[in-house]
Symmetry: C2
Subunit: 355 residues, 2 copies
């Protein structure tokens, strides 16, 4: 159902938004959210209006819906659901952004967003209708930066080492594993189901992939990592993390990137094999790519070179229209996506068509 | 009961040893070990005979009695129980060691040990009857090096930061906490019982100490660490580790030095609060001071300076006679010791009294 908000000033643009109405238990259910249509806001000085082209669907979005402290505050009841996305500047009263610019920003689950000149909003070079927006969302943005800084900064794979990546078919895992391969490591993915495992090997070029649903994970890890695991890039936590901790090589590095196995339940079983961090003199470290904000250009330069050389590929799972945002978010947890999940809301326009 | 072994060549020296007869379940019980008396071995070229003065009793000794792989192999049934200790060279056919030298080595639970010129055997400077052997065992040896490299290499406390140390009255914890204080941090110990907590504050100079037996640990951590825990030096694992992980400050460093809470049972409950490593972008790292062997001199130079300046104190809990070794080892787990546990077997002799 679409309801219209009551705004003081009326714009000619209608902005459809998905608001949080109730904190979800597990997957988002009917009644947790509401799709509303409101006039797009009038701009104040220093603001620009961005029309969302793609909403990025990350597991982090789900964490922001719980009433838990984190590196960003929880989304409040009645607020637009927060998400990182990409869009095009359609009006501007901000010198940092020209009409037509493609920018990455916290679009949220909505068609129009007001932005300011802040660190969350970054223009993308190039003619607006020629920017490869999917590549930006998969590689030249927070997802690529997360894979890059986690793998190169903490994992530090060396030639000949064995690297394991969980959620290997996902947006971050697929890029992280490719970075490790470029560094000369042998890379073993972990993913759920034969379809994903095939994509991990055939599309993303991993050396092998373990189907944690169909295989005995400790046995498969022993088979694929006979000398132990030198680097583990963990997106999932839970029993998969524990199994890999049981297989660490001496001086191993465990990169904690996510705990998707527990985002729905809030339940975090402790990995009893953490004691191997001691016996193997290994480290386990959490990180947030936003801490490396000042070095994003460095990351993107490497990622772009690898992409241009054909060493780094990306895939997207595209949903259509704002009505799909909730289904797309739930899909992260039911395991439908290969690569980055995006919801397409609009096409970018060539400059000639923008007023 | 003392039995005599059957050796081909007979020495004039009798060597009493404690052998492992059965793998212990939990604390060592009667029948797990046997005290035997055998002739001390004749020396081959390149060997020296060391008379044990003090056996060092570490939690690691207990781990070597289980049939588990580790950085050293398990003690075999029928073998002398392995332990690091200190002693005096009484015969030498090795150019590296002169009669009279005080050396640290893997003495084991026995009165005499044959040593070679290897990395496990290190001479201590000074006239033999004037060497402060207790200081060597507490500070200028593997215990001090463990505290030093764990705290300075991984913990890296900064002035004004809050550092928590568990088993704070123990050999390693007491030194680690003092090193953090010297670095300018506020140091909170965790220990079991009022007697130990008093020693942690009054003898070792910590700013505070939490009695985990008598206090609610999460509440006490909140009270004593209002801005969170920047560095945690963990000797115990288990629920105490989990409680401190629940209180981490951003960018915290968790030093994994031991898991004494589970050495007896082999049971390692996983710390569910490990997810804070992610939300706080913190790290948890295991280490072994032996990996830093080449830098021990550097550690000892710092430790000696601090000791000489009165900034670093040490305490020992002394048992007497080889018959006490098993009781002393069990005492680590029943919580009797403050500072380093040693078993005294003999006095060092001045050079004039050695043949």
């Amino acid at each position: 159902m679409i309801s219209f908000g009551n705004f003081g000033r009326v714009s000619t643009l209608t902005n459809r938004q998905i608001l949080l109405r109730r904190r979800p238990q597990g997957l988002l259910a009917s009644g947790d959210t509401e799709l509303v249509a409101v006039p797009a806001p009038e701009l104040a000085d220093g603001e620009a209006l961005v029309r969302t082209t793609y909403v990025g669907i990350d597991a982090a979005v789900r964490t922001w819906l719980d009433d838990q402290p984190g590196y960003l505050p929880p989304v409040g009841l009645g607020e637009v659901i927060r998400a990182a996305g990409i869009g095009q500047v359609v009006q501007s009263r901000c010198p940092a952004y020209a009409v037509g610019d493609i920018v990455t920003t916290l679009t949220g689950f909505q068609e129009y967003t007001t932005v300011r000149d802040d660190i969350f909003t970054t223009p993308v070079d190039g003619p607006p209708d020629q920017v490869d927006q999917r590549a930006v969302m998969s590689i030249y943005g927070p997802t690529g930066a997360t894979a890059y800084f986690g793998m190169t900064g903490i994992g530090r794979p060396q030639p000949g080492e064995t690297v394991v990546v969980s959620a290997a078919a996902g947006a971050t895992g697929s890029v992280a594993g490719q970075i490790a391969r470029i560094a000369g490591a042998r890379v073993v993915g972990i993913a759920g189901g034969a379809r994903k495992c095939r994509a991990v090997v055939e599309d993303f070029g991993f050396d092998a992939c373990i189907d944690y649903r169909g295989e005995d994970l400790p046995a498969a890890l022993k088979q694929h990592c006979p000398r132990g695991v030198d680097v583990y890039f963990d997106n999932v936590g839970g029993p998969i993390l524990n199994a890999v901790l049981g297989r660490l090589a001496p001086k191993a590095r465990v990169v904690l990137c996510g705990v998707i196995s527990s985002y729905l339940t809030g339940d975090h079983p402790g990995p009893s094999n953490y004691v191997n961090l001691l016996s193997k003199t290994a480290l386990m470290q959490g990180f947030n790519a936003l801490d490396e904000w000042g070095r994003f250009d460095e990351a993107f330069a490497d990622l772009r070179r690898w992409h241009d050389e054909g060493l780094l590929v990306h895939r997207e799972h595209i949903f259509d229209g704002i009505e799909s945002c909730v289904e797309a978010l739930n899909g992260l947890f039911t395991g439908v996506n290969i690569g980055k999940t995006l919801v397409k809301l609009a096409e970018a326009q060539p400059l000639s068509e923008l007023g």
